[in-house]
């Protein structure tokens, strides 16, 4: 009898454990319909996004959206994958464009092509391509875009007698001039920590890292365009014309703040970063189009930007799509996004919103900031992201980090990104066209 009691306890313990391990399969998640009213949960990290939700909830008593705040674009992917496995993902999530294929490939996001109707026409083709992955499906509604542009210190440019470079050739020349005129200063830095930044620069040169060919992926990370960009920056770093320290470190903040760095090729959201990281330089910056590879062109790439996806396990997908479409295309909603969340909207009409008639507070002198930005955004290249951008980005950091510390050519780092990406895809069974 005593033995059986002991056995019972052990059995109970093991049983409880098994229930804990498997129980989540039957969980329906936290969304559902209660009394004709649809409840939607939404994961996002954009600051103040609840103000947009408030507006929606006030106007739509039958579809109520609840926000769950997340840390950021990288974390949200891991959390969504986990929640999907556990069976209780949210109905909607803010997703960076390059993370879409990873989530789609894990069946986390729903194909909402049937529900989107004529929404496609409200976005530039390059932007829309990012949410279709080059297929007929639609995996999200674009929210914000990150067209790249050049930020530079007007005061220091004037002091050194520099003109704003229109081509990358001129940019390199300017970088060398800075070194001779002020040996402690650099025109800019090459960051081995920011793969999204490098990817945007490569897009501008015409790189297409991924593509879809029938039922196989094309992977061309070491294409001629990317190599050209890598060699260009590698050359500048090795001759010492620019700095090679990463962005987003205290050291970088200091360099921006005290004028050690004169320019920053960045994206539309740059002013917010400068305001936060280099507060002493207010009014000293100006924005110009990114230098071009061929004089007279007006091309750019995208750094960052996100969309609103609907999860495959959501029980109220059409309501979710309705909300996502409203949030990202409606004039009133996008105005809140611009004013409260510092988001540069992806929708064409929203880019001409009255909320964008004033320049960013940190750039008081550049009255036509957003008019110019809209023009630049039109030239943004389209992108197809692959299913393992996370792997590629990780290899970028390691390979370019090594190239900088060992002073080896950047082209080899790009080759490493290509081979590691293809190897990872093949390991998982993806069909890769050679």
């Amino acid at each position: 009898m005593t033995r059986s009691l002991g056995a019972k306890i052990v059995a109970m313990v093991l049983g409880a454990g098994l229930v804990a391990a498997c129980g989540s399969d039957s969980d329906d998640g936290d969304s559902g319909t209660t009394g004709g009213k649809v409840e939607l949960s939404f994961w996002a990290w954009a600051p103040n996004i609840e103000k947009v939700l408030d507006k929606w909830n006030a106007a739509n008593p039958d579809i109520h959206v609840t926000l769950s705040r997340q840390a950021g674009g990288g974390d949200i992917v891991t959390k969504l994958l986990t929640a999907h496995k556990a069976g209780n993902p949210p109905d909607l999530a803010q997703v960076e464009y390059q993370s879409l294929p990873t989530l789609v490939s894990n069946d986390v996001l729903a194909d909402i092509a049937k529900e989107t109707g004529d929404t496609k026409g409200k976005f530039a083709d390059g932007v829309w391509q990012q949410v279709t992955l080059g297929t007929d499906a639609v995996y999200g509604i674009p929210q914000d875009a990150g067209p790249m542009m050049l930020y530079y210190r007007t005061d220091l440019f004037q002091q050194h007698g520099l003109t704003v470079p229109k081509t990358w050739e001129e940019f390199a020349q300017t970088a060398r001039t800075v070194r001779t005129k002020a040996p402690k200063q650099y025109l800019t830095t090459f960051s081995a920590k920011d793969p999204g930044w490098f990817s945007g620069l490569a897009q501008q040169a015409g790189a297409a890292w991924w593509g879809v060919d029938g039922d196989a992926w094309k992977v061309n990370i070491n294409d001629a365009a990317t190599k050209k960009v890598a060699d260009y920056w590698g050359g500048l770093v090795s001759e010492g014309a620019i700095d090679d320290q990463p962005m987003y470190t205290p050291e970088w903040n200091k360099a921006l703040n005290d004028g050690t760095l004169l320019a920053w090729p960045s994206a539309i959201w740059g002013p917010g970063v400068l305001e936060g990281n280099a507060p002493d330089t207010k009014g000293k910056w100006a924005m110009a189009p990114l230098p071009q590879w061929t004089a007279g062109e007006s091309k750019t790439g995208n750094w960052g930007g996100s969309s609103t996806g609907v999860t495959a396990k959501s029980k109220n997908q059409s309501a979710a799509v309705k909300f996502a479409t409203w949030m990202n295309t409606d004039a009133a909603a996008t105005e809140v996004l611009i004013r409260e969340c510092s988001i540069y909207p992806a929708a064409r009409d929203a880019q001409a919103s009255p909320a964008l008639s004033q320049p960013p507070a940190f750039f008081p002198a550049q009255a036509d900031f957003y008019a110019q930005a809209k023009q630049i955004a039109e030239g943004a290249a389209g992108v197809t992201w692959g299913p393992n951008v996370n792997v590629t980005y990780q290899v970028y950091q390691d390979a370019f980090g090594k190239a900088i510390t060992q002073k080896s050519p950047f082209g080899a780092a790009v080759d490493q990104m290509q081979s590691a990406t293809v190897a990872d895809m093949q390991k998982n069974g993806f069909k890769v066209a050679s």
Binding site: T2, D107, K254, D424, G429
Partner: protein, 306 residues
């Protein structure tokens, strides 16, 4: 006794009831996760075609594939080698300093004993991530007060985050954070030694130095062994310091230590399966190292007890 015999059934059930909470918690939070990790390490994902859309991805049995890939991964081995070097630097310095401080504090007339003890212990209370941030900022050439002073004196400025020196910089953070904890353990066992032993030693003409070397250290051996085992385990698992400093420099790769590789595989590459296999390997190595060390010293230090 007769009462006990009457309630024989209940009495023998009692130990199980008392054990139950511990067994339950241990199973839920240790055994199950470990079991699940072992299970995951034998699985992998299989994708068909583009891998987009429903049912394109399935989890299949992988056998020992994940282990084979982990064992043949050169990054993992160079990470392991780096940790070995890290341990060879860290253990003697950290434990040596801890022992020295403990012995110094245990001398008969020490001024500011409480203050010294707390200030040596205090760094241990600072979380590793925050300590690494603080030190990392001190290492950055443009921020570092050391570089500022050297620059003012016109001396060459070292880059403490360069590929050649970053290992030492990380060891420094670990020493700073670890000495206090180990010192407290050693100091506590020193206080537990009966003062009569010292008295008789002094009567026999022993100097304080001789007491320290010939009486205190031999009596401290069990505590030293324990701190060494703890430190060994912490060394194999070095993670927070390099991961935090990594955001400041290009000298640290994402697979700089084995645990960082596990983290990268699981959370950056979303490959839980390889990460699980590497974790199990790491756990096995830790187990072998710590038990191997224990057996080794048991035979040498406690040989006469057996």
């Amino acid at each position: 006794m007769t009462v006990a015999t009457n309630r024989r059934g209940r009495r023998t059930a009692a130990p199980y009831v008392f054990l139950a909470p511990a067994v339950l918690l241990f199973s839920l939070f240790i055994l199950l996760p470990v079991g699940y990790t072992a299970y995951l390490s034998l699985r992998k994902v299989q994708v068909k075609g583009l891998g987009l859309g429903r049912g394109a991805r399935s989890e299949v049995f992988a056998g020992l594939d994940n282990y084979q890939r982990a064992i043949t991964d050169s990054e993992l081995w160079s990470g392991g080698l780096r940790v070995l070097l890290y341990g060879l630097l860290l253990l003697p310095i950290m434990l040596g300093l801890a022992l020295l401080f403990a012995l110094l504090l245990d001398r008969p007339r020490v001024g500011l004993r409480r203050f010294s003890r707390i200030s040596i212990f205090l760094p241990y209370a600072v979380p590793a991530v925050i300590a690494s941030m603080l030190w990392g900022f001190l290492y950055l050439p443009a921020m570092s007060p050391l570089n500022y002073v050297l620059d003012r004196l016109g001396l060459p400025e070292p880059n403490l985050l360069s590929p050649g020196s970053v290992l030492f910089s990380i060891v420094n953070i670990a020493v700073w954070g670890g000495v206090g904890f180990n010192m407290i353990i050693l100091y506590t066992s020193l206080r537990a030694i009966s003062p009569e032993i010292y008295e008789s030693a002094r009567i026999d003409g022993c100097s304080e130095l001789q007491i320290a070397l010939r009486i205190k250290i031999p009596l401290l051996i069990p505590a030293i062994v324990m701190t060494t085992v703890f430190s060994l385990i912490v060394t194999v698992q070095v993670f927070s310091e390099p991961l935090t400093v990594r955001s400041l420099t290009t000298s640290i790769t994402s697979t700089w230590t084995p645990l960082m590789k596990v983290y990268r595989d699981a959370f950056a590459a979303n490959d839980l399966y390889s990460a699980a296999a590497t974790s199990i390997l790491l756990a096995a190595i830790t187990l072998v190292l710590s038990f191997g060390f224990l057996r080794f010293v048991q035979r040498r230090a406690f040989g006469e007890d057996r």
